[in-house]
């Protein structure tokens, strides 16, 4: 086939994908930035008032808003707790999994698979029920019936973080376990022959070999936990009392769809996208440095 014919067939094959991706990803990204530059509220949407171009006005409002900085800080702290918790639990269980017989390991992996595959809404609801003030099993066991976990800001955040860790550690565990298993036995034998202790082997031999995998699961977890929406929304009933359990994603949603400040909501979306793109760029650079080829 001629080069021109090849190009034509290729574009015929690509057309449906390009149409969908252009219309439903590329165009909305452009629109997101555009809307964030306007005063876009309920009146503008219904056509009752003309659109007013604000330039960076929405961003100025946002950066001058105490609540935004509070929510941003909360988001970072919440994501950090979730990421650290997920990694610690996942890594710890991956190591334990290498030291037990197959049926024990399979039991653990099956349980983890269950947690992993539970839809976020269902998982959040189950946890809410387990920790219910009056009918919850946890309060019954702890003997603190009537204690509301979701009322206090910090216990509410803690509960959501525990739920997030519950459903995201399996990914880390399974990936790290596969990584540990992929280390050639000779390497570990050589370390043992040279008289290295178990700790020394783990620290100086296994850790460097696992570095690329650890990096991948870390950044992946950061990206996931930074944009948690469902768990916060369901478990704290839309961001907690007076919005004290808000994270960036829920905040953007509330600004846009509850307060009808679509311009402001879009601006928060842009801020979040920029932050996450920054993290991803860092991720790609780190991957490149560790010798991974795309």
């Amino acid at each position: 086939m001629t080069a021109k014919g090849q190009g034509r067939t290729a574009f015929a094959y690509l057309a449906p994908a390009l149409l969908i991706l252009g219309g439903l990803l590329a165009y909305p990204i452009y629109q997101l930035v555009l809307i964030s530059l306007y005063d876009y509220g309920q009146e503008q949407v219904s056509g009752g008032a003309p659109l007013e171009f604000l330039g960076l006005g929405n961003y100025q409002n946002l950066l001058g808003d105490q609540q935004f900085w509070g929510v941003l800080g909360q988001t970072v702290a919440f994501a950090a707790v979730c990421v650290v918790g997920t990694l610690l639990v996942g890594a710890f269980l991956a190591i334990l999994a290498t030291r037990v017989r197959t049926w024990v390991r399979m039991t653990l992996f099956l349980a983890a698979l269950g947690a992993w595959s539970t839809p976020a809404v269902a998982g959040s609801t189950i946890w809410l029920f387990l920790f219910d003030a009056n009918f919850g099993f946890v309060n019954e066991v702890l003997g603190i019936q009537g204690f509301s976990w979701t009322f206090d800001k910090w216990t509410a955040f803690g509960l959501v973080a525990a739920q997030v860790i519950w459903c995201s550690f399996p990914f880390v565990m399974v990936t790290l376990y596969a990584g540990i298993k992929a280390i050639p036995g000779e390497v570990l034998e050589a370390a043992a022959l040279d008289g290295a202790s178990a700790f020394r082997t783990a620290w100086s031999v296994m850790l460097p070999l696992l570095r690329p995998i650890i990096l991948v699961v870390t950044i992946q977890s950061i990206i996931w936990d930074f944009k948690v929406f469902t768990q916060i929304y369901v478990m704290t009933n839309g961001g907690g009392i007076a919005g004290r359990n808000l994270v960036l994603n829920v905040y953007a949603y509330q600004q846009a769809f509850a307060a009808s400040e679509y311009g402001l909501g879009a601006a928060i979306g842009v801020v979040m996208t920029v932050l996450l793109l920054g993290i991803t760029m860092f991720y790609l650079r780190a991957l490149k440095r560790s010798g991974e080829v795309l």
């Binding site: 094959y13 439903l24 029920f129 979306g269 996208t273």
Partner: protein
């Protein structure tokens, strides 16, 4: 001795991890008075299907279940077709903008789709003005967005599988008189099936679990809600029908669980194939 300790510990952890799911299923089968008892116990002597009946009749979960199934299956079907064609184009043909397209595919995967709710909401609103079936309050709008979100990864992943099929095979098929169309669907398509399984599972789960877009797009048409949203609607402060909610959660989780367990091996090999490719 130490191994016994470790194994015992691991089993306890497995029990803790599985406990929420156990509690969900157990509560779904408990009679109502045991659920709202002040002293909940981790067993039941009188299992009943009452909660399921209530979830399916009063809460109309059957309808929402079907809605969720329809959205997820249509997304999977369309994303298989579209991503297979696109992946073939990107691996089997050489054309000028090929590299640019590949890089763009990577970049769009990094955009947090949650940030796009506002523009997508307005887009669906205007789409609805001309094609109501794909506008707000209709399942079509959910199909469209989930299709768009699952395509970049699906194309990216399938590329490796298509590339793994030797070009000689295509030449042989052409020599045997197979048309390009026939080669595509009767030779190449079955060969990349393992990759299709892996991508389909991920697209299915994304569409099935979605809460944010269902909440944003399906505003007033209660009959077009999907499971995650319906479940959330029945959670009311102070007067939850926990039995029905747990039955609904069970109905929502079981399909994914079965799906996941059945395909986990293929999923892992599929993912590995994509990485190698």
């Amino acid at each position: 001795m130490r191994r016994w300790l470790t194994e015992g510990f691991v089993l306890v952890i497995a029990a803790v991890v599985a406990f929420p799911l156990f509690w969900m299923v157990l509560s779904a089968f408990k009679p109502e008075d045991e659920i709202i008892s002040a002293d909940p116990v981790p067993w039941t002597t009188r299992p009943t299907l009452d909660s399921f009946t209530r979830a399916l009749t009063v809460a109309n979960f059957g309808r929402y279940f079907m809605n969720s199934i329809i959205v997820a299956l249509v997304v999977v079907f369309l994303s298989i077709l579209i991503s297979f064609l696109a992946a073939t184009a990107l691996t089997r043909f050489r054309f000028r903008s090929r590299t640019t397209l590949l890089i763009m595919l990577l970049v769009v995967q990094m955009v947090p789709v949650e940030a796009l709710t506002v523009p997508l909401f307005f887009l669906m609103r205007s789409v609805g003005d001309s094609v109501p079936a794909f506008g707000l309050n209709h399942l079509g709008s959910l199909v469209l967005v989930h299709l768009a979100f699952s395509l970049p990864f699906a194309i990216w992943m399938l590329r490796g599988f298509v590339a793994a099929v030797p070009v000689e095979l295509e030449e042989a098929a052409t020599l045997d008189g197979a048309s390009r169309f026939r080669f595509l669907w009767q030779v190449l398509f079955p060969l990349v099936a393992p990759g299709l399984v892996a991508t389909s599972v991920l697209s299915f789960i994304h569409a099935w679990n979605d809460f944010l877009f269902a909440k944003t797009f399906i505003i007033s048409a209660v009959e077009n809600q999907t499971l995650p949203l319906a479940l959330q609607v029945f959670v009311k402060p102070d007067q939850n029908d926990w039995g029905a909610i747990m039955a609904g959660s069970t109905l929502m989780t079981i399909p994914v669980l079965i799906f996941f367990v059945l395909v986990q091996r293929r999923l892992v090999s599929g993912l590995a194939g994509a990485v190698k490719g």
